[in-house]
Structures are given as C-alpha cells and as structure tokens.
Symmetry: none
Subunit: 223 residues, 2 copies
DNA sequence: TGCGCCTGTAACCCGTCTGTCACCGCTCCG
DNA sequence: CGGAGCGGTGACAGACGGGTTACAGGCGCA
C-alpha cells in the first residue's frame, strides 16, 4: 500500500511519513508540487497526501493534475481558518482534508477511512470464505488446498476482488486499482490477467466458480 | 536486554519498570534528564524510554545528547493533545513515541517492535535452527559446521533475515535496514550482497537452501 | 607507498511476467 | 442473415528482475 506524501515542511513530512510507515504503509516523499507529480508519474500511489501551501505548484494544481489522470484518493492539508480553500480543494476532486495542526492518530484514522472507501484498506480481511491471501509470500490458498504462487499483478487483482468479496467490481475500477490506468481502453489487459489468474486458482478454468464474470466487471464468490 | 526508563512521575516510572521487568528486561531507572544521561553514560542500554516533560533537562535535550553518541532506539512519551512535540522529537532522532495514557500491553508491543527493527529483539535470537550468529566475532556457524567470517554488511543482512526467520523480508525493507537507504533505489546492491553471502553460507551457492529468493524479497529457511 | 579486502557499479545471461495480437464463440439487434 | 460487440483463449516478443562475472574505487594496514 503506497502513500505519496507531499509537503514542503520537512518536519511535518517526516512525522507523517513516520506515522504511516509504522502503520505498515510504504511511503513516498516529495518536498514540492513538481516533485510530487514526478513521483506520482513514476511510481503511482494508492493514496496521496497533499499540503495546499507549497512553493511552485500548489496543492491545488497538483491535485488537479493527478485527477486528470487518476482516481486515487487525495487528502489535502490546510491551516485552520482558511476554510474557503477546502471548498476549492473538494471541487477539484480531493476526497478529504485535515486542518493543521492534527494528531498522527487522527491522520491515520482518516487515511484508513479513505482507503476503506476506495476498497483497499490493508486491514480489510485478507481472507474470505475459502480464499486466503498471503501478501508477504505472494500466495493464495483455496479451501485448505496447496498455496499457489501469484505474480505481482495477480496478487493485486485478487486483493481488490477479495476486498469486495461477493460484490461485482467494475472493469474500470479494476484497471485503475491494478494498473493505475485512466479508465477506458485497456480491457485486454484485464481479460488476460483474469485468464491467467483463473488458470491458477480455478479447478476448471473453463468453468470458473470463484472468479466469475459479472455485468461490466468481475466478482469473487466466496460462499 | 537493558532498558533505560526516564520519567519524573514516580508512579508511571514504576509501572513501566514493573511491566518491562515482568517481560524479562533489565530496567535502569532515572527520575530526571540529568540522571538519565549519567545512567546512560555509565551503563549504556539497548533501548531508552524518555518522558518529554521532565524538570531540568527535557526529554528533547536528553534525546539529542544520546543521539550525538549512539544509535540506540529511543521511545518518547508525550501527553495527548501535544502531538506537535512529536515533530520535534522525531526530528531529533527519536524512533517511536507513545501518547499518555497508554496500556502496559501497548508499551510492551511497541518496545518489542522497536527492538525487532533494530535487530535485537530477544524473541528474535541470534540463532534459529541451523544458523547461529556471533555478532562480536562477525561469524556465522551453520549446523555445527565451521565458523565463517562475515563482513559488516553480510552480518547485518543475515541478522535481519534471522530476526524474521522463515518469513519473507521485502527487498525494500532490507535496503532500509542494511544501508539505511530511503525508499526504493538500488536493488543491485542487495543482489550483490545476497550473492556474496550465499557464496559463504550455502553448500551449493547456485542452489540456495538457506537463503531463498521469495516473491519481492528474501527469506531464511531454518527448518 | 603498495597490498589486501570490502563495497559499489556495470554488463551480460536467462527465466518469468506482462503487453499485444489474432482468432474463437456467443449474443444482440437491425 | 450478418455484422458488431464482448469475453475467452492461445501464441509470442519485449520488458523486467534475479543471478553471475568482472572490474574499479575506497579504506585500513604494513
């Protein structure tokens, strides 16, 4: 779970990074807006924390640029008393905000809430019904069977489906979550990945039971 | 495993000391900052717990003084609502913090996590299965075989893997722990170091049995 | 100063993973 | 009927990452 933290205040940036690292997130840091965009283009991220006041590109501009390419959750940081900023930020597509000063505890709670809404909270169960994921080992175990080795993308896809076990996840959302692609276009990638994953986890890949095709997406059946 | 506890609140100090003693740690106590520094100079310690609010020398000053001489893990104690202090504390090199009030259980968990990160958690002994490390001599002994001389980096890598024996440790984490690198970066270093270590500890370095490649990292097999 | 060893860097091999294409079968609908 | 659209399948080439060899700079030490 990667979180990009952009803030020009080094102390605050390190505090946020520390808090998130402790909580088990992988943290990418950026000291200004331009660096944040570069970092996001290179590595993407599952969530972005943006200070509004940054030299060069402001948090607003960064948020706008990111939104043009991705639906990744964005949390803005603002100083108290400038609530007009929030209207602006939320209008640009930010998902949540915090007013400084805030406690690490609060930050963490809000970030978890955001990720949960996006369906990728790590605390989301790594097992449901007969399917149990092991993120560290990159394996999945079906109904006490043998552990099956998964690739990076297969793991990510299965994690997303598992986080929404029993419910259909749209192809668009899967594309965004697994590849970070903007919506539309690359259905073929998803088709292939589903196919490969089925080869590994389905008893009869031609008649899928676990990973079912649903209207406009896929869903994981866990009973 | 020695822990230095510095807090001017006698009740809290004794509670912490009691908790740690029960858990098997040797506890050194100090009632103020100056005493903490004296104690640390005399006896050193494997971990330091510092209250921020202390008469005379504050926790900040003690932390700074200790950091000037040692990389020992430092945990700061602060009261809720004054989290800005943490920015300062972490900036001075503290490794973790707790906001009062906290439960003994939490304290213990965090202290163990700190020691594990530093690679000296007693629950992660210097020997597991067939692998026994000697930190003082910079050697490792495999299954009662000959002691093998290790370099500084090899020792550090093996120590980290041993502390997580049987479980995959991600490349990112190893890079941070062995080199102190920040995020991502140089896989080549790790590749090389693993290769060199295998030459020393594996019967057949081309077919590693102990130091196995796992998804996104490495793991030590100890049976 | 010259000689080791340790560490970092580059270049190459090779197996796996991933993106892409071509084609199949099915359904929907004019 | 026939074509368009969609999902599933097989094949394949390039990208990627780990393993390996080779070599150069750094550092301690005689």
């Amino acid at each position: 779970m990667k979180v990009l933290v952009a803030d020009d205040d080094a102390d605050l940036r390190e505090l946020i990074a520390f808090t998130l690292t402790q909580a088990g997130y992988l943290v990418l840091k950026a000291a200004d807006g331009a660096a944040a965009l570069r970092r996001f283009a290179e590595d993407s991220a599952d969530l972005v924390v943006l200070d509004i006041n940054m030299p060069g590109l402001s948090g607003f501009q960064v948020c706008e640029a990111i939104r043009a390419r991705s639906r990744v959750p964005v949390m803005m940081l603002t100083v108290r008393g400038e609530e007009e900023d929030l209207v602006h930020a939320l209008g640009l597509g930010a998902d949540d905000y915090l007013t400084k000063p805030f406690s690490p505890r609060t930050l963490l709670a809000r970030i978890k809430a955001l990720l949960r809404r996006a369906g990728m909270e790590p605390a989301a169960p790594l097992a449901a019904g007969r399917v149990a994921l092991d993120l560290a080992e990159h394996t999945v175990r079906i109904a006490h069977g043998e552990a099956v080795q998964l690739t990076k993308l297969e793991l990510r896809l299965l994690q997303m489906l598992l986080a929404n076990a029993g419910h259909t996840v749209s192809s668009d959302r899967l594309l965004v979550q697994v590849w970070g692609h903007r919506s539309g276009g690359d259905r073929q990638l998803l088709k292939q990945l589903v196919h490969r994953l089925r080869q590994k986890i389905e008893a009869d890949p031609a008649a899928p039971v676990l990973l079912r095709t649903a209207a406009a997406g896929y869903k994981l059946i866990v009973d």
